[in-house]
Subunit: 321 residues, 2 copies
DNA sequence: CCACAGGTGAAGTAATACTTATGTTGCAAA
DNA sequence: TTTGCAACATAAGTATTACTTCACCTGTGG
C-alpha cells in the first residue's frame, strides 16, 4: 500500500492538466511542492510517471494505468461529497427501514410511494421482521430506523434496550375476539375470568405472553394464568382466519378487523376495563444523529399515518410528536 | 475535494476491521492517531461516519457509501503496485508500438505472436503509420517506441529530432528498378546520368526526394536534378505493380522484389557505386527510461529480425546492437 | 542574444500527524 | 457494588512532512 494517498490527488491534477504549474495553480500550492510530490510518488511506485520534455510532460504507461485507477475514484469522491452537501438541503440517498410484517405491508408501500412522489432522489429498502430480527439490524447499522411493536418487544430478550431510542408513533387497540358462532356456543355470554380461562385459544407465535398480558391487564391477576392454546400461528391474518373458523378465541388488533366487527362476524370480548393498547414505535440508535433525509421522512411518516389511520380505522390512535 | 486523501486509507481500515484499535495495529500507528484521523475525516465530509456504541463501531449510511468508493480503489491500487513490482522481473502489461505500414504488416505480427508465446502477460497495440504520424505519437507518449524509416524521415519536417533516440535495427538496400520490357524499350541499356534523367518515374508519395537522393548518391550531382514523375502512389506494392506494368522506373527496397529480380521480371538498375541503404530504426524518446518489458521486447525484436531477415532476404542487412 | 516559461533542488519554516499520558464510558467478572 | 478492563476520546508535546522561497537549469520564442 502507498504511504501517502494524498500524493495521488496531486498526480491526478498533474495528469489532467498535463503540467506541473497548472496543477499547482489548481491546488493552490507552489509549483515546487507539486514537483516534489510527483517525485516522491514516483519513488513510491518505483517507476517514472512522466517523461519530462521541455514544456511538456508526457505520461508513461505506468502513469496511464495509475490514472485509470485514480480518475474514477476522485470523480466518485467528488459526487459523493456533492451528494452529502446536497443532502443537507433536500432529501437524497437510501433509507433502510425496518417494520413489523403486518404493519409494514399495509402502510409502508403507501408511504414510500407518497414520499417518493415529492422526493425522487430517495430510495428505500424495507426489512420486515420481528423485534428479534429488527433490533440486531438496528444495532449493526444495517437499517437506519425501524417501526417496532412494543407489545411484542416486551416478550423478547435482547441485550439492553437503552442503546435505542423509542418514539411512539401509533397505538392500536388490542382486543380479545372470537366468531359469533363460537361466542354463542362456547362462551354463552359468560365473560367472567373463570369462563374465559376455560376456552380454546389461538395465539400469535410460540409464546402466550400476549394472552397472559391481556388477562393481567383486564383482571389484574398476574399469577398463575394458564390457558389452553389450541393453535399457534405466525401471522395476524391466520389468527383472524382461525377465529372466523370458530377454532377459538384470539387476540387481534381491532383495526385489522373493523369490517368483521361491524358485520358482527367477529365478536369483541369486552370487560369493564379499557382495552389494552399496543404502541408501534419508531426506534433508532440512541447515539445516532439522524440525517436530514431521515428527519424529513420520519415527519412525513408520522403525518401520513395520522391522516390515513384516522380515516380508516377505529381502535388505532395516532400519537402526535 | 477532500483536503487529505490519506485519511481515507485510515477510514478503509477502520471500516474493514470494525474497530479503531484493530485499524491502528494494521497501520502501525497509535490508536489515538486513528481516532483523530477519523474525526478529521468526519469533519471534512461534515457527516458522522460511525456511531460509537460501546465496544462496537457501527458505520452510518454515509460510511457505507464512502466505503463503496474507497474499497475498490485501494484494491485496484494494491494490484497496480503488485503489477509494478512484478514487472521488474518478468514482462507484463501493454506495449504500444509504432511501425511503417509495409514493415509492420510483414514482420510485427510474427514478432508479437512469438513474444507472446514466451510471455503471456504482455499485450500489444500496433500503430502503423508514416514518420509524420509516428513521431507525434511518440512525443505525446501514446506509443512506447516505434520502428521508423530513416529514409523517409529525412523528407519530413518535424520539430526537432533530438528529443528522440535512434537505434538502427535493419538496413535495406534501396534500388532503382524497372521491368524487363521497359529496360529494353526505353533505356536500351544506357544507364548514364543523362539517359536515366529522361525516363518516366514512379514515386512513392508526393515528394520526389527519394529519387533525388538516389541520383545524388549514385552520381554525386546534388543540384538541379529534375525528373519526370508520371505516377505517384502511396504504397510500395503499388510502386512494384506499376514497374511490372512498364509504366516507368521506380525506387524499391530490393528485399521486397527478390523473386522478381531472380526471374528477371524486374531489372535492377545498377551503377558503379554501391547501393543506397535505408535503415529502419527503433526510435523512442530520448529521456524515456525503458521498462523491463520494453527492454526484453526490443532485444527479442532485434534478435528475431536478425534471424528472419537473414534467411529470407538479400539486400537487407541486420545491424547488431 | 536575452527574456521567459516550465521544471528541479536545497534549506528554512509552517503545518500536521503521531505519540504519550490521561480521561470517559459501559460491560463483565469478582 | 466494586473493580478491572476494553474501546475510544482528548490534550499537549514532539516528530515528521509538506510547503515556501530562492537559486538554478534548460529549451523556446521574440
Amino acid at each position: 500500500m502507498l504511504q501517502n494517498l494524498d500524493r495521488l490527488k496531486v498526480f491526478y491534477h498533474v495528469f489532467t492538466q498535463g503540467s506541473i504549474v497548472a496543477a499547482a495553480e489548481v491546488l493552490y500550492v507552489s509549483q515546487s511542492a507539486v514537483s516534489q510530490s510527483i517525485q516522491k510518488l514516483e519513488g513510491e511506485v518505483s517507476s517514472p510517471l512522466f517523461i519530462r520534455l521541455h514544456k511538456q510532460l508526457v505520461p508513461t504507461a505506468a502513469a496511464e494505468r495509475l490514472y485509470e485507477i485514480v480518475a474514477p475514484f476522485v470523480e466518485d469522491l467528488q459526487s459523493y461529497l456533492k451528494g452529502i452537501e446536497n443532502a443537507k438541503d433536500h432529501p437524497t440517498g437510501e433509507l433502510r427501514i425496518g417494520a413489523p410484517m403486518e404493519f409494514g405491508k399495509a402502510y409502508l408501500p403507501l408511504m414510500v410511494a407518497g414520499f417518493r412522489a415529492k422526493y425522487q432522489d430517495v430510495t428505500f429498502t424495507l426489512e420486515f421482521g420481528t423485534p428479534e430480527t429488527l433490533f440486531p439490524l438496528l444495532r449493526s447499522g444495517q437499517i437506519d430506523f425501524a417501526l417496532i411493536d412494543v407489545f411484542l418487544t416486551q416478550n423478547t430478550h435482547i441485550g439492553s434496550l437503552d442503546i435505542f431510542h423509542f418514539d411512539a408513533v401509533v397505538e392500536e387497540e388490542v382486543i380479545l375476539a372470537c366468531s359469533k358462532y363460537y361466542y354463542e356456543q362456547s362462551l354463552g355470554g359468560d365473560l367472567s375470568f373463570a369462563s374465559l380461562l376455560k376456552q380454546d385459544f389461538i395465539s400469535y407465535r410460540k409464546d402466550q405472553q400476549t394472552i397472559k398480558q391481556w388477562f393481567k391487564h383486564h383482571f389484574a391477576k398476574s399469577n398463575n394464568i394458564q390457558v389452553r392454546n389450541v393453535l399457534t400461528v405466525d401471522s395476524h391474518e391466520a389468527v383472524i382466519s382461525a377465529i372466523k373458523n370458530n377454532i377459538g378465541i384470539g387476540i387481534v388488533a381491532s383495526h385489522l378487523v373493523t369490517n368483521e366487527l361491524y358485520e358482527k362476524q367477529i365478536i369483541h370480548i369486552k370487560t369493564s376495563s379499557p382495552e389494552l393498547m399496543n404502541s408501534i414505535s419508531l426506534v433508532h440508535l440512541q447515539d445516532k444523529i439522524p440525517t436530514f433525509t431521515e428527519k424529513i421522512f420520519e415527519k412525513y411518516l408520522v403525518d401520513t399515518i395520522k391522516s390515513v389511520v384516522s380515516i380508516n380505522h377505529v381502535g388505532m390512535r395516532v400519537l402526535c410528536q
